[in-house]
Protein backbone atom coordinates (compact mmCIF):
# COMPACT_ATOMS: atom_id res chain seq x y z
CA UNK A 1 0.00 0.00 0.00
CA UNK A 2 1.48 3.34 -1.02
CA UNK A 3 1.50 6.32 1.24
CA UNK A 4 -1.05 8.15 -0.75
CA UNK A 5 -4.07 6.29 -1.95
CA UNK A 6 -6.11 8.33 -4.33
CA UNK A 7 -9.63 7.86 -5.47
CA UNK A 8 -10.82 8.68 -8.93
CA UNK A 9 -13.38 11.29 -8.12
CA UNK A 10 -10.83 13.82 -6.96
CA UNK A 11 -10.08 14.85 -10.47
CA UNK A 12 -12.65 15.21 -13.17
CA UNK A 13 -10.17 14.57 -15.97
CA UNK A 14 -9.65 10.92 -16.80
CA UNK A 15 -5.86 10.90 -16.63
CA UNK A 16 -4.51 9.37 -13.48
CA UNK A 17 -1.82 11.91 -12.90
CA UNK A 18 -1.86 14.61 -10.23
CA UNK A 19 0.31 17.63 -9.79
CA UNK A 20 0.89 18.41 -6.13
CA UNK A 21 2.61 21.60 -5.05
CA UNK A 22 4.40 21.67 -1.68
CA UNK A 23 4.92 25.14 -0.25
CA UNK A 24 5.65 26.77 3.11
CA UNK A 25 8.37 28.75 4.85
CA UNK A 26 11.96 27.48 4.99
CA UNK A 27 12.53 24.79 7.60
CA UNK A 28 8.83 23.83 7.68
CA UNK A 29 9.62 20.25 6.68
CA UNK A 30 8.57 20.18 3.01
CA UNK A 31 11.47 18.08 1.74
CA UNK A 32 11.16 15.63 4.64
CA UNK A 33 7.51 15.24 3.72
CA UNK A 34 8.40 14.74 0.07
CA UNK A 35 10.93 12.04 0.95
CA UNK A 36 8.36 10.35 3.13
CA UNK A 37 5.87 10.27 0.29
CA UNK A 38 8.55 8.71 -1.90
CA UNK A 39 9.52 6.26 0.88
CA UNK A 40 13.07 7.58 0.91
CA UNK A 41 15.55 8.04 3.72
CA UNK A 42 15.00 11.31 5.60
CA UNK A 43 18.24 11.50 7.56
CA UNK A 44 20.39 13.38 5.04
CA UNK A 45 18.19 16.31 4.10
CA UNK A 46 19.73 19.67 3.21
CA UNK A 47 18.08 23.07 2.72
CA UNK A 48 16.37 23.22 -0.66
CA UNK A 49 18.13 25.56 -3.04
CA UNK A 50 15.67 25.81 -5.94
CA UNK A 51 13.25 22.91 -5.94
CA UNK A 52 12.93 19.14 -5.82
CA UNK A 53 10.51 17.03 -7.81
CA UNK A 54 9.52 13.43 -7.31
CA UNK A 55 7.01 11.22 -9.02
CA UNK A 56 5.32 8.80 -6.70
CA UNK A 57 3.15 5.91 -7.83
CA UNK A 58 0.22 5.20 -5.59
CA UNK A 59 -2.83 3.02 -6.23
CA UNK A 60 -2.40 3.35 -9.95
CA UNK A 61 -2.02 7.11 -9.75
CA UNK A 62 1.05 9.06 -10.61
CA UNK A 63 1.67 11.92 -8.20
CA UNK A 64 4.09 14.55 -9.40
CA UNK A 65 5.12 16.33 -6.22
CA UNK A 66 6.90 19.67 -6.53
CA UNK A 67 8.77 20.80 -3.42
CA UNK A 68 9.86 24.41 -3.77
CA UNK A 69 12.39 26.06 -1.46
CA UNK A 70 10.79 28.25 1.21
CA UNK A 71 13.50 30.79 1.87
CA UNK A 72 12.32 34.38 1.49
CA UNK A 73 14.65 34.93 -1.45
CA UNK A 74 13.09 32.07 -3.38
CA UNK A 75 9.42 32.80 -2.66
CA UNK A 76 9.07 35.15 -5.67
CA UNK A 77 9.63 32.04 -7.84
CA UNK A 78 6.72 30.12 -6.30
CA UNK A 79 4.36 31.56 -8.88
CA UNK A 80 6.25 29.84 -11.71
CA UNK A 81 4.94 26.52 -10.38
CA UNK A 82 1.22 27.34 -9.87
CA UNK A 83 -0.04 26.33 -13.30
CA UNK A 84 -2.12 23.12 -13.44
CA UNK A 85 -1.75 22.39 -9.74
CA UNK A 86 -4.32 19.83 -8.57
CA UNK A 87 -3.59 20.01 -4.84
CA UNK A 88 -1.65 22.56 -2.80
CA UNK A 89 0.05 21.21 0.31
CA UNK A 90 1.08 23.98 2.67
CA UNK A 91 3.49 22.99 5.45
CA UNK A 92 3.85 24.84 8.74
CA UNK A 93 6.43 24.40 11.50
CA UNK A 94 4.00 24.29 14.45
CA UNK A 95 6.77 25.03 16.92
CA UNK A 96 8.07 28.15 15.18
CA UNK A 97 5.61 30.53 16.84
CA UNK A 98 7.72 33.57 16.03
CA UNK A 99 6.91 33.06 12.37
CA UNK A 100 3.19 32.24 12.58
CA UNK A 101 2.32 35.69 11.23
CA UNK A 102 4.77 35.32 8.37
CA UNK A 103 3.46 31.91 7.38
CA UNK A 104 -0.16 33.10 7.64
CA UNK A 105 0.67 36.02 5.38
CA UNK A 106 2.29 33.76 2.77
CA UNK A 107 -0.67 31.37 2.82
CA UNK A 108 -3.18 34.14 2.42
CA UNK A 109 -1.23 35.50 -0.56
CA UNK A 110 -1.32 32.03 -2.11
CA UNK A 111 -5.06 31.69 -1.60
CA UNK A 112 -5.52 35.00 -3.42
CA UNK A 113 -3.53 33.83 -6.43
CA UNK A 114 -5.60 33.67 -9.55
CA UNK A 115 -3.78 30.62 -10.88
CA UNK A 116 -4.61 28.73 -7.70
CA UNK A 117 -8.29 29.61 -7.69
CA UNK A 118 -10.36 26.73 -6.33
CA UNK A 119 -7.31 24.48 -5.86
CA UNK A 120 -7.88 22.30 -2.77
CA UNK A 121 -5.40 22.97 0.03
CA UNK A 122 -4.08 20.55 2.60
CA UNK A 123 -2.28 22.18 5.51
CA UNK A 124 0.20 20.20 7.54
CA UNK A 125 0.58 21.46 11.11
CA UNK A 126 3.97 19.82 11.08
CA UNK A 127 6.62 19.12 13.77
CA UNK A 128 4.08 18.03 16.34
CA UNK A 129 6.90 16.02 17.89
CA UNK A 130 8.65 19.23 19.00
CA UNK A 131 8.21 20.68 22.44
CA UNK A 132 5.91 23.66 22.36
CA UNK A 133 4.27 22.81 19.05
CA UNK A 134 0.90 24.46 18.63
CA UNK A 135 -1.99 22.04 18.11
CA UNK A 136 -3.59 21.95 14.67
CA UNK A 137 -6.78 23.52 16.01
CA UNK A 138 -4.88 26.56 17.27
CA UNK A 139 -3.12 26.94 13.95
CA UNK A 140 -6.39 26.61 12.05
CA UNK A 141 -7.79 29.41 14.15
CA UNK A 142 -4.71 31.57 13.72
CA UNK A 143 -4.88 31.12 9.97
CA UNK A 144 -8.58 31.79 10.01
CA UNK A 145 -9.11 28.70 7.90
CA UNK A 146 -12.79 28.49 8.71
CA UNK A 147 -13.42 31.55 6.63
CA UNK A 148 -12.26 29.76 3.48
CA UNK A 149 -15.31 29.31 1.29
CA UNK A 150 -13.96 29.04 -2.22
CA UNK A 151 -12.12 25.72 -2.03
CA UNK A 152 -11.84 22.44 -0.20
CA UNK A 153 -9.38 22.49 2.64
CA UNK A 154 -8.14 20.34 5.48
CA UNK A 155 -5.62 20.78 8.26
CA UNK A 156 -3.66 17.82 9.56
CA UNK A 157 -1.35 17.51 12.57
CA UNK A 158 1.82 15.78 11.46
CA UNK A 159 5.40 14.94 12.19
CA UNK A 160 7.28 14.42 8.97
CA UNK A 161 10.21 13.30 11.12
CA UNK A 162 8.39 10.34 12.65
CA UNK A 163 5.96 9.89 9.77
CA UNK A 164 3.00 10.49 12.03
CA UNK A 165 0.03 11.96 10.17
CA UNK A 166 1.72 12.20 6.80
CA UNK A 167 0.26 9.02 5.45
CA UNK A 168 -2.50 10.75 3.65
CA UNK A 169 -5.35 9.14 1.90
CA UNK A 170 -6.96 11.50 -0.49
CA UNK A 171 -10.41 10.05 -0.28
CA UNK A 172 -13.56 9.92 -2.30
CA UNK A 173 -14.78 13.46 -2.32
CA UNK A 174 -18.19 12.44 -1.15
CA UNK A 175 -17.77 11.23 2.35
CA UNK A 176 -17.46 13.03 5.63
CA UNK A 177 -17.44 16.70 6.27
CA UNK A 178 -15.32 19.14 8.16
CA UNK A 179 -16.55 22.47 7.10
CA UNK A 180 -19.92 21.56 5.76
CA UNK A 181 -18.26 20.91 2.44
CA UNK A 182 -17.35 17.52 1.15
CA UNK A 183 -14.19 16.25 2.72
CA UNK A 184 -11.27 15.93 0.42
CA UNK A 185 -8.62 14.30 2.48
CA UNK A 186 -8.92 11.39 4.78
CA UNK A 187 -5.97 10.98 7.08
CA UNK A 188 -4.69 7.66 8.17
CA UNK A 189 -1.95 7.01 10.68
CA UNK A 190 0.40 4.17 9.85
Amino acid sequence: MGLLALLRKLKSTPDRELRILLLGLDNAGKTTLLKHLASEDISHITPTQGFNIKSVQSSGFKLNVWDIGGQRKIRPYWKNYFENTDVLIYVIDSADRKRFDETAEELSLLLDEEKLTGVPVLIFANKQDLFGAAPASEIAQGLNLHSIRDRKWQIQASSAMSGEGVKVKIADAGQGSLTGQRSLFQIRDH
Binding site: T46, G50, F51, Q71, R72, N80
Partner: protein
Protein backbone atom coordinates in the same frame (compact mmCIF):
# COMPACT_ATOMS: atom_id res chain seq x y z
CA UNK B 1 45.13 0.21 -6.35
CA UNK B 2 41.51 -0.78 -6.79
CA UNK B 3 42.77 -4.01 -8.28
CA UNK B 4 44.02 -5.53 -5.01
CA UNK B 5 40.76 -4.42 -3.41
CA UNK B 6 38.77 -6.27 -6.03
CA UNK B 7 41.03 -9.35 -5.73
CA UNK B 8 40.45 -9.46 -1.99
CA UNK B 9 36.74 -8.98 -2.45
CA UNK B 10 36.46 -11.90 -4.83
CA UNK B 11 38.93 -14.12 -3.00
CA UNK B 12 37.80 -17.62 -2.15
CA UNK B 13 39.75 -17.45 1.09
CA UNK B 14 37.53 -16.08 3.89
CA UNK B 15 40.51 -14.61 5.73
CA UNK B 16 41.32 -12.43 2.71
CA UNK B 17 37.74 -11.33 2.18
CA UNK B 18 37.57 -10.36 5.83
CA UNK B 19 40.34 -7.81 5.36
CA UNK B 20 37.81 -5.63 3.56
CA UNK B 21 35.28 -5.51 6.35
CA UNK B 22 37.21 -5.95 9.59
CA UNK B 23 37.76 -2.57 11.24
CA UNK B 24 40.37 -3.80 13.69
CA UNK B 25 42.86 -5.51 11.46
CA UNK B 26 46.53 -5.32 12.24
CA UNK B 27 47.98 -4.44 8.87
CA UNK B 28 51.49 -5.84 9.47
CA UNK B 29 50.07 -9.17 10.61
CA UNK B 30 47.67 -9.19 7.67
CA UNK B 31 50.54 -8.69 5.23
CA UNK B 32 52.47 -11.63 6.68
CA UNK B 33 49.28 -13.67 6.61
CA UNK B 34 48.53 -12.88 2.96
CA UNK B 35 52.10 -13.69 1.92
CA UNK B 36 51.95 -17.02 3.69
CA UNK B 37 48.54 -17.89 2.23
CA UNK B 38 49.70 -17.00 -1.24
CA UNK B 39 53.14 -18.56 -0.69
CA UNK B 40 54.95 -15.43 -1.80
CA UNK B 41 58.68 -15.55 -1.30
CA UNK B 42 59.90 -12.12 -0.11
CA UNK B 43 63.35 -12.83 -1.59
CA UNK B 44 61.84 -13.27 -5.05
CA UNK B 45 59.39 -10.34 -4.68
CA UNK B 46 61.16 -7.86 -2.44
CA UNK B 47 58.65 -5.02 -2.98
CA UNK B 48 55.51 -7.09 -2.49
CA UNK B 49 55.47 -6.67 1.25
CA UNK B 50 55.59 -2.87 1.22
CA UNK B 51 53.18 -2.51 -1.68
CA UNK B 52 50.63 -4.72 -0.02
CA UNK B 53 51.03 -2.85 3.24
CA UNK B 54 50.24 0.48 1.55
CA UNK B 55 47.27 -1.03 -0.29
CA UNK B 56 45.78 -2.47 2.87
CA UNK B 57 46.32 0.77 4.80
CA UNK B 58 44.51 2.68 2.07
CA UNK B 59 41.61 0.25 1.92
CA UNK B 60 41.18 0.21 5.68
CA UNK B 61 41.87 3.95 5.86
CA UNK B 62 39.06 4.80 3.46
CA UNK B 63 36.64 2.87 5.59
CA UNK B 64 37.89 4.59 8.74
CA UNK B 65 37.47 7.96 7.08
CA UNK B 66 33.90 7.07 6.15
CA UNK B 67 33.24 6.24 9.81
CA UNK B 68 34.86 9.44 11.04
CA UNK B 69 32.97 11.65 8.58
CA UNK B 70 29.75 9.90 9.52
CA UNK B 71 30.39 10.53 13.21
CA UNK B 72 30.78 14.28 12.58
CA UNK B 73 27.71 14.38 10.34
CA UNK B 74 25.61 12.67 12.99
CA UNK B 75 26.21 15.44 15.51
CA UNK B 76 23.26 17.80 15.19
CA UNK B 77 24.13 21.46 15.39
CA UNK B 78 22.93 22.74 18.76
CA UNK B 79 22.74 26.35 19.89
CA UNK B 80 23.12 25.06 23.47
CA UNK B 81 26.57 23.75 22.63
CA UNK B 82 29.19 26.44 23.20
CA UNK B 83 31.70 24.74 20.88
CA UNK B 84 29.20 24.73 18.05
CA UNK B 85 28.33 28.35 18.68
CA UNK B 86 32.01 29.32 18.71
CA UNK B 87 32.53 27.66 15.31
CA UNK B 88 29.53 29.51 13.92
CA UNK B 89 30.80 32.84 15.21
CA UNK B 90 34.17 32.07 13.69
CA UNK B 91 32.46 31.57 10.35
CA UNK B 92 30.92 35.00 10.64
CA UNK B 93 34.10 36.79 11.71
CA UNK B 94 36.19 35.12 9.00
CA UNK B 95 33.83 36.11 6.22
CA UNK B 96 32.77 39.48 7.65
CA UNK B 97 35.72 40.74 9.68
CA UNK B 98 34.58 44.35 9.49
CA UNK B 99 30.94 43.85 10.31
CA UNK B 100 29.57 43.27 13.77
CA UNK B 101 26.89 40.62 14.10
CA UNK B 102 24.18 42.52 15.97
CA UNK B 103 22.68 39.52 17.71
CA UNK B 104 22.84 35.74 17.58
CA UNK B 105 19.46 35.59 15.82
CA UNK B 106 19.69 38.11 13.05
CA UNK B 107 18.67 38.64 9.43
CA UNK B 108 22.37 39.42 8.91
CA UNK B 109 22.99 35.67 8.54
CA UNK B 110 21.38 35.88 5.11
CA UNK B 111 24.43 37.94 4.11
CA UNK B 112 26.38 34.69 4.37
CA UNK B 113 23.69 32.89 2.39
CA UNK B 114 21.82 31.23 5.23
CA UNK B 115 18.06 31.10 4.80
CA UNK B 116 16.89 33.12 7.76
CA UNK B 117 17.71 34.49 11.20
CA UNK B 118 19.13 31.29 12.64
CA UNK B 119 21.73 29.26 10.75
CA UNK B 120 21.11 26.35 13.11
CA UNK B 121 18.05 25.26 11.15
CA UNK B 122 20.06 25.07 7.94
CA UNK B 123 22.58 22.42 8.95
CA UNK B 124 19.91 19.73 9.16
CA UNK B 125 20.92 16.30 7.88
CA UNK B 126 24.56 17.31 7.39
CA UNK B 127 24.89 18.28 11.05
CA UNK B 128 28.20 19.55 12.27
CA UNK B 129 29.91 18.28 9.11
CA UNK B 130 28.25 21.07 7.12
CA UNK B 131 29.63 23.72 9.46
CA UNK B 132 33.10 22.17 9.81
CA UNK B 133 33.45 21.97 6.02
CA UNK B 134 32.36 25.57 5.52
CA UNK B 135 34.65 26.79 8.25
CA UNK B 136 37.60 24.80 6.92
CA UNK B 137 37.09 26.30 3.48
CA UNK B 138 36.73 29.91 4.59
CA UNK B 139 39.64 29.64 7.05
CA UNK B 140 42.03 27.90 4.64
CA UNK B 141 41.18 29.90 1.53
CA UNK B 142 39.82 33.10 3.01
CA UNK B 143 40.40 35.39 0.03
CA UNK B 144 38.87 32.92 -2.36
CA UNK B 145 35.90 32.32 -0.06
CA UNK B 146 35.25 36.05 0.44
CA UNK B 147 35.33 36.76 -3.25
CA UNK B 148 33.01 33.83 -3.90
CA UNK B 149 30.66 35.16 -1.22
CA UNK B 150 30.65 38.58 -2.87
CA UNK B 151 30.04 37.08 -6.29
CA UNK B 152 27.23 34.91 -4.89
CA UNK B 153 25.14 38.11 -4.74
CA UNK B 154 25.29 38.49 -8.52
CA UNK B 155 21.88 39.83 -9.63
CA UNK B 156 21.28 37.05 -12.12
CA UNK B 157 23.60 34.20 -11.31
CA UNK B 158 23.57 34.66 -7.56
CA UNK B 159 23.15 31.76 -5.15
CA UNK B 160 22.97 31.34 -1.37
CA UNK B 161 26.59 30.77 -0.39
CA UNK B 162 26.07 28.92 2.91
CA UNK B 163 23.11 26.88 1.70
CA UNK B 164 24.91 25.83 -1.45
CA UNK B 165 27.91 25.07 0.75
CA UNK B 166 25.80 22.73 2.88
CA UNK B 167 24.41 21.07 -0.24
CA UNK B 168 27.98 20.52 -1.42
CA UNK B 169 28.81 18.85 1.88
CA UNK B 170 25.98 16.51 1.03
CA UNK B 171 27.54 15.93 -2.40
CA UNK B 172 30.99 15.20 -0.93
CA UNK B 173 29.45 12.95 1.70
CA UNK B 174 27.44 10.94 -0.80
CA UNK B 175 30.49 10.49 -3.05
CA UNK B 176 32.52 9.28 -0.07
CA UNK B 177 29.76 6.89 0.98
CA UNK B 178 29.31 5.52 -2.54
CA UNK B 179 33.06 4.88 -2.82
CA UNK B 180 33.59 7.36 -5.67
CA UNK B 181 36.34 9.13 -3.75
CA UNK B 182 38.50 6.00 -3.50
CA UNK B 183 40.32 6.96 -6.69
CA UNK B 184 41.24 10.33 -5.23
CA UNK B 185 42.33 9.12 -1.80
CA UNK B 186 44.18 6.05 -3.08
CA UNK B 187 46.18 8.28 -5.41
CA UNK B 188 46.72 11.00 -2.84
CA UNK B 189 47.63 9.27 0.41
CA UNK B 190 49.96 6.31 0.96
CA UNK B 191 48.09 5.31 4.06
CA UNK B 192 45.02 6.38 6.02
CA UNK B 193 43.37 9.59 4.78
CA UNK B 194 42.40 12.03 7.52
CA UNK B 195 39.38 14.26 8.01
CA UNK B 196 41.46 17.16 6.69
CA UNK B 197 41.81 15.33 3.39
CA UNK B 198 38.04 15.15 3.20
CA UNK B 199 37.77 18.88 3.96
CA UNK B 200 40.15 19.49 1.05
CA UNK B 201 37.92 17.53 -1.31
CA UNK B 202 35.10 19.75 -0.11
CA UNK B 203 37.11 22.89 -0.90
CA UNK B 204 37.84 21.52 -4.35
CA UNK B 205 34.14 20.84 -4.95
CA UNK B 206 33.01 24.25 -3.72
CA UNK B 207 35.47 26.17 -5.88
CA UNK B 208 34.83 24.01 -8.94
CA UNK B 209 31.07 24.17 -8.48
CA UNK B 210 31.18 27.95 -8.26
CA UNK B 211 33.01 28.12 -11.60
CA UNK B 212 30.70 25.53 -13.14
CA UNK B 213 27.60 27.41 -12.00
CA UNK B 214 28.68 30.69 -13.56
CA UNK B 215 29.83 28.94 -16.76
CA UNK B 216 26.41 27.30 -17.04
CA UNK B 217 24.71 30.70 -17.06
CA UNK B 218 21.61 29.36 -15.27
CA UNK B 219 18.34 31.17 -15.82
CA UNK B 220 17.92 31.57 -12.07
CA UNK B 221 18.50 29.83 -8.76
CA UNK B 222 15.69 27.38 -9.49
CA UNK B 223 18.13 25.59 -11.78
CA UNK B 224 20.33 24.66 -8.85
CA UNK B 225 19.50 20.97 -8.68
CA UNK B 226 19.81 20.51 -12.44
CA UNK B 227 23.22 22.17 -12.46
CA UNK B 228 24.35 20.35 -9.32
CA UNK B 229 23.42 16.97 -10.82
CA UNK B 230 25.30 17.79 -14.00
CA UNK B 231 28.32 18.87 -11.99
CA UNK B 232 28.20 15.72 -9.88
CA UNK B 233 28.11 13.52 -12.98
CA UNK B 234 31.13 15.29 -14.32
CA UNK B 235 33.14 14.81 -11.12
CA UNK B 236 32.18 11.14 -10.90
CA UNK B 237 33.18 10.70 -14.53
CA UNK B 238 36.52 12.29 -13.77
CA UNK B 239 37.02 9.89 -10.86
CA UNK B 240 36.53 6.91 -13.20
CA UNK B 241 39.94 7.78 -14.60
CA UNK B 242 42.25 5.77 -12.36
CA UNK B 243 44.86 8.51 -12.13
CA UNK B 244 42.53 11.30 -11.00
CA UNK B 245 43.33 13.45 -8.01
CA UNK B 246 40.87 16.23 -7.18
CA UNK B 247 43.10 19.24 -6.88
CA UNK B 248 42.87 22.76 -8.23
CA UNK B 249 44.93 25.90 -8.15
CA UNK B 250 43.73 27.14 -4.76
CA UNK B 251 46.28 29.26 -3.03
CA UNK B 252 46.26 29.02 0.76
CA UNK B 253 46.03 32.34 2.52
Amino acid sequence: MEQPESSLKHSKIPALKRLLVDDNINIDEAVVHVMRLKTINPDVHPRFNETLRVCLSQIVGYRQLQAEVESVRKVQYSSDNLDHEALLMQLWSTLKPDTQLKSRLSPQWTELGFQGDDPMTDFRGMGLLGLRNLLFFVSSYTDQARSMLTRSFHPQYGYSFAIVGINLTSLAYSMLTAGHLKTHFYNLVDGCPQLTHFHHVYCYLFVEFDKFWFDERPRDIMEFNRVKTKFQKQVIHKLKNKSTILINELIPC
